[in-house]
């Protein structure tokens, strides 16, 4: 089977093929036409819900070998306009099958629910819902800020919107006021609008083009809505943030955002296609645009930044600017002397919470206080509105009814343009004597396993301890701390060094002994050789015996001259018999004058040499 496809696109009457009958007016009646009888018709409507001012797309698909005349539907309140047609030919086994898609723009005049009758008697009806505002996002008609007054690209309208020259995108800054104080944070909205079909994407966060302001807490998840602006559909992405001024003066700022847009490739006046197809979707379909990255800038917004007044500034003013209310509560209205309480101070309202700080209660005779810690609770992503809670541990030092005094909090209110000092209400806490004090006057309470009294006033918890033990700066056990490990390693190195030194000393001693023994051996052997050469039997055996006495004396830890034949026992080696005979021959030579022949000298020399060598080696 062979399939060959050919697609022809008709975008205007001039480019129409296969009998397209374009309509240029409203409800022109005649729709897409086709001839012949064997054609199937299908129609789809997208989207099925739109806002007033937007358009839906009706696609009429007819397929078959012939052509069929399809009349456009007529519905009161809806305008049907053919904006294009495409045709596809498929060659299947030599037979040509044509598919024709006719695209009709449907624009409502009023809001409501419209039923579009079926294109053919067998086709089901289509339903189009038109909301007054933006039906998909629930935006009210008030959101159509520029309305139908006509928004001119490149010029700023009264609502602060300035479209790019091609009308594809805008960046808009929305602020509640333009006169602010140094340090004051005001919530701002940065909107990036992208015309559907023209603008493709926003490629980054909006950027503040001014060094005189700071932008804080830019929302991570921007809000995305679709709006009709000047009758054209826009997708508007909104970031919320806090804007603060750094120094007093008159300044202006702009925001810019990187956006990818589709740019027309041909001048509009030269393109009949563009004249006919004002709809960007159709322009994209017909390849009349290319993508390009642009930086879209908002119109300049002018601000007057005022300095905070010096007159009337409270001593405890810490830079908080906004509108705040304060209150306090305590973890328990009753406690025992020495037991910690938690005093909480709530600061809620709107303003620059990052500058909201307080030292809370200072230590006095009745209360021992510690450094407060703070936390911030808010559902506002910009953190402009919320509640900051300070928690301060307190310990009552005396029993009785103790009062936690009022705590002041000073801030500058830009609404009243003056400093305000809010005060919390004093709190009263009933403080009972401590467990230690009670023990002196009360009978001993129930004892735990260790004999420590049980604190019955606090759910059976055993009482607090006197904090007199030494403090450490880490919970890591001492033996795992680097300093300690270093110390242990140094000790190990020292011991290793000492052991090595000892071994070297022992080796040196052994070497000296070996050298002395070797020297002695050579001396003895030399003397024996001399006696042998001279035939002096007496000298030979005396020297041989003396040599053996020296090595055995060193081995047996006995003086050499005390070694006799009786000390040469079999355990000293396999030549012990020879050695005993040597001792006997020496005695015989001394006392009987026995003489030896040269071969005997040689044999005994070998015996003595072997023994001496063995003893030195061991």
């Amino acid at each position: 089977m062979t399939i060959v496809s050919v697609v022809l696109i008709a975008a205007s009457p001039q480019f129409a093929v296969a009998g397209l009958n374009p309509v240029s007016g409203a409800n022109a009646g005649a729709g897409a036409t086709a001839g012949a009888a064997s054609a199937a018709i299908d129609a789809t409507l997208e989207p099925q819900q739109i806002a007033l001012g937007e358009s839906a797309r009706l696609t009429i698909l007819s397929s078959g070998n012939g052509t069929l005349k399809v009349p456009l539907p007529v519905v009161a309140g809806l305008e049907f306009r053919v904006v294009g047609e495409s045709r596809r030919f498929q060659m299947i086994n030599g037979a040509a099958i044509a598919t024709t898609a006719t695209i009709v723009r449907v624009t409502p005049d009023v809001a409501g629910v419209f039923t579009i009758p079926g294109i053919t008697p067998k086709s089901p009806p289509l339903v189009l819902r038109v909301t007054p505002g933006n039906g998909r996002t629930g935006v009210s008609p008030d959101d159509e800020l520029p309305g139908r007054t006509g928004l001119i690209p490149g010029k700023t309208d009264a609502n602060g919107i300035r479209l790019t020259p091609d009308g594809s995108a805008f960046v808009r800054l929305s602020t509640p006021k333009h006169e602010i104080y140094v340090g004051e944070s005001i919530p701002v909205e940065i909107q990036v609008g992208m015309r559907d079909g023209f603008a493709v994407s926003v490629n980054g966060l909006p950027k503040l083009n001014s060094g005189d302001f700071t932008l804080n807490n830019l929302s991570r998840q921007p809000e995305r809505v679709e709006k009709a602006i000047d009758g054209k559909p826009f997708t508007v992405i909104t970031w919320r943030s806090l804007l603060s001024a750094i120094k007093p003066g008159a300044y202006s700022l702009t925001f810019e955002a990187p956006v990818t847009v589709r740019i027309r490739t041909r001048p509009q006046r030269e393109s009949m296609l563009d004249d006919l197809l004002g709809d960007p979707f159709m322009q994209n379909v017909f390849g009349a645009t290319v993508q390009k990255e642009l930086k879209v800038t908002s119109p300049e917004a002018a601000f007057t930044v005022l300095a905070l007044p010096v007159d009337g500034r409270p001593a405890d003013f810490g830079g908080a600017v906004g509108s705040f209310k304060v209150s306090t509560d305590v973890s328990s209205a009753t406690t025992a002397a020495g037991d910690p309480l938690t005093l909480r101070m709530h600061v809620n309202g709107t303003g620059n919470f990052d500058r909201v700080a307080t030292t809370m209660l200072g230590s006095d005779g009745d209360w021992k206080t510690y450094e407060p810690k703070s936390s911030f609770n808010t559902t506002d992503p910009t953190q402009y509105r919320g509640e900051k809670i300070f928690e301060q541990p307190l310990i009552a030092t005396h029993p009785g009814a103790q009062t936690i005094p009022a705590i002041p909090f000073s801030y500058f209110d830009p609404g009243t343009r003056r400093y305000e000092t809010a005060r919390t209400a004093p709190l009263t806490v009933a403080v009972s004597p401590s467990a230690a004090d009670s023990a002196a006057v009360a009978p001993p309470p129930a004892a735990g396993s260790s004999g420590t009294p049980v604190d019955a006033t606090h759910g059976g918890l055993r009482p607090d301890h006197a904090a007199t033990d030494a403090a450490v700066d880490t919970l890591v056990p001492l033996y795992l701390q680097p300093r300690f490990v270093g110390l242990s390693s140094a000790l190990a190195l020292l011991f290793a060094g000492g052991w090595v030194a000892l071994r070297r000393r022992e080796r040196g001693t052994t070497d000296a002994r070996t050298r002395a023994a070797a020297q002695m051996t050579e001396t003895f052997l030399a003397q024996m050789a001399g006696a042998s050469a001279a035939g002096d039997t007496l000298q030979f055996f005396n020297t041989a015996r003396s040599a053996i006495q020296h090595v055995l004396g060193a081995r047996l830890q006995i003086a050499p001259e005390e070694i006799t034949a009786a000390d040469v026992h079999p355990g000293l080696g396999d030549d012990s018999d020879d050695l005993r005979q040597l001792f006997a021959l020496a005695d015989e030579a001394n006392y009987a004058g026995r003489s030896l022949q040269p071969p005997d000298f040689e044999r005994w020399t070998q015996i003595v040499r072997r023994r001496l060598t063995r003893e030195i080696a061991s």
């Binding site: 450094e371 735990g448 759910g459 904090a467 700066d473 001492l478 190990a492």
Partner: protein, 242 residues
């Protein structure tokens, strides 16, 4: 010359040990304020390292228990137990808080009880002293062979002291890698990603073993063996990392 080297090593070792002991004794003995260890680092506090004492942590645990914060109470009790493992009051209060939070009671085995018969700080010095004695005895054994039996006994005693310290380290090692659930409940996920359905939930005051940390999530394992990722903010390490 060579005869002097071992003697010099022994002298230096003694000097090092004595110097370290003197340094340790000179550490500040000021008790820490009871709330300092669990406070977040305030800007003005960053210059001073936190300080911990067993009594202050115990008192802080009591305060948290009374304030209805079992997670923080167990955390501070566990920290106090690292410094003073044999405080019966601490054990009793920890047991009570865990029971009140609906958690199973802890049971310490014989080895744990033996290995923690003294505070780690004391055992550290005992171990160092044992190491010193063992090393010196072994060296002296080479120098004075006539006393080798006495010196061998001394070396064995030193080695036993080192073993006691090692046992303490082995017993405490798991605790050094544990964390306590301080949030009201901690959802446990299969993967460390946001918006994932939890596979189970850890109750407050539960003690878990920390196996890994990744991108704001902690891979934990419960004592029953279940494992998963928990948001880091829901946990507090028993031994905080500075």
């Amino acid at each position: 010359m060579t005869c002097r080297a071992p003697t010099l090593a022994l002298t230096l070792a003694l000097a090092l040990a004595l110097g370290a002991g003197t340094f340790a004794a000179a550490q500040p003995a000021t008790p820490a304020p009871p709330t300092q260890p669990t406070q977040p680092p305030q800007p003005q506090q960053r210059q001073q390292p936190p300080s911990y004492s067993a009594a202050a942590l115990y008192n802080l645990g009591n305060a948290d228990a009374r304030a209805g914060k079992p997670g923080a109470a167990v955390l501070n009790y566990e920290r106090a137990r690292l410094l003073d493992p044999n405080d019966p009051d601490l054990e009793a209060n920890l047991r009570q808080v865990r029971e009140a939070a609906g958690l199973a009671p802890e049971s310490r085995g014989r080895f744990d009880r033996f290995a923690t018969f003294a505070a780690p700080r004391i055992l550290a010095w005992i171990g160092l002293l044992g190491f010193l004695i063992a090393g010196a005895s072994l060296l002296a054994r080479q120098l004075y062979p006539g006393h080798r039996h006495k010196l061998a006994a001394s070396a064995v005693a030193g080695i036993l002291a080192v073993v006691a310290t090692l046992c303490n380290a082995i017993a405490l090692w798991p605790t050094l890698h544990e964390a306590v659930v301080v949030a009201h409940s901690a959802p446990v996920q299969v993967a460390p990603v946001l918006d994932e359905e939890p596979s189970f939930v850890l109750p407050e005051a539960e003690t878990v073993r920390v196996n890994a940390v990744h991108d704001g999530f902690v891979l934990v394992q419960t004592r029953s063996g279940r494992a998963g990722w928990v948001p880091e903010a829901n946990l507090a390490l028993v031994v905080p990392k500075h």
